[in-house]
Amino acid sequence: MRMDRGQNTGGLMSSAGLVRYFDAEDSNAIQIDPKTVIATGVMIGILVQLLTFAA
């Protein structure tokens, strides 16, 4: 059991962000495409701006 230790450390932790992401993932988790994140951001921005104009 100790054999596989240290394999999943995600390489060098050089540029550690404040939020840490590991390689391990759960199959239950909802997977989001990075394009979806950008598209959602753009859409929310446009929506709020349009509503501001309309108001």
Binding site: L18, V19, V48
Partner: protein, 486 residues
Amino acid sequence: MGWKEAAEPVLTRMPAVRRPEGHVPFKRKLMWTAGILVLYFFLTNIALLGLQGGEATDLFGEFRSVLAGEMGSLMQVGIGPIVTASIVLQLLGGANLLGLDTDDPRDQVLYQGLQKLLVIVMTALTALPMVFAGGFLPAQQSLTLGGLEFGQTQIEMLLFLQIFIGGILILYMDEVVSKWGIGSGIGLFIIASVSQRLVSGFVSPTSEAFFYSWYEIITGQTGVSVASLDGLTYMLSDGGGQLIALVTTILIFAIVVYAESVRVEIPLSHARVKGARGRFPVKLIYASVLPMILVRALQANIQFMGQILNRTWGGMPTWLGDYSAGEPTGGFFYYLNPIYSPQDWMWWTADVGQEAWQVLIRISIDLSFMVVGGAIFAIFWVETTNMGPEATARQIQNSGMQIPGFRQNVGVVEKVMERYIPQVTVIGGALVGLLAVWANMLGTIGGVTGTGLLLAVSITYKLYEEIAEEQMMEMHPMMRQMFGRE
């Protein structure tokens, strides 16, 4: 049954950004990073719907340059919730209260889930008082949207919803950069926010900006004679020629870049391949400047509390906090308020309303907070990010290297590492804290604050190193295996 089993169904199901399969080419990484940066700037320019214009005050105050985002926009909370959640995790993890082993894949999933849940909770907790307590973001009286009439309470809900969604977006934007881009989203947003302030501190056409104020001095619009003592003071001062601020800003740049290269190098040789040698660098700023943001955020959270109390609690005793024009001028919250600019402490000038001893107490509290806090958070940071003696010894052992003259054994390497890493971490953390306070006392161009400047320079340096590493990997696919990323 521990908390792990109880929380598992929730924590394992937190939505996550998909990981790239295989290697992402450097150009593609650059595109993702640039895309997120553009989106960030776009969203900082979208004003919140239903906000009463012109009357909002920034709860983040002087901490804005470090916490990124933009007041009154969809990016209202900036990276505040992420930093606060990170403080909680660092403290829990550093004191080993979580019982999570970050080498175990199962615990890694739980850690990631817990981290995300904490950020979401903190986003709500940051957004709630902004909208509902103390009128930091006053809502419009009424709002009509396509025939629907909204009352003030509903508009406040609408404001909260927008800020909350903006905060969640920042979380996922960071995840996209971390997984598909270069560096981290948080680093990117800090650089963006600080550089924007720095550039406008130089070139914006107001008398607060560096170039414009010098234009005024040279054309004689200031009414101060250049050749007199007053003129000299004016040229140096923060409200005038800002020469001291300029020198401080440049010095911080130079010191951080220099300190990045100060290191103790531990020689390594390969156990099997004769002649293959390497060095393990223990940098002076080993834990980087990021722990500093945690100390600042802790101070920021104390000040938010003061601001909220001041707005909502009419009978607040003066020993707790005495406020005038939204700034603490006495009491507990005054002494815990960090020094932002020369106007905060130069007690012999007319800008400071406090006695010299009060100012000195405030300076010493700020200094000890930053130096001691910097050291403590640096230690926690090293432990939680696997940069401690034990973890690095294991990494060196796994790569087949050893320290020449010592037995090839994890315990032995760890002993050698223990001689350097903790000491260097504490000295580095304290030094960075000292630098940040010193820079704030002398002032910086554009009011970016010492911490903001330190963070921006050090993150940019890290980014540069990472890009260099990326390009090396592009050139030699073999390198990818060496860096452990296939």
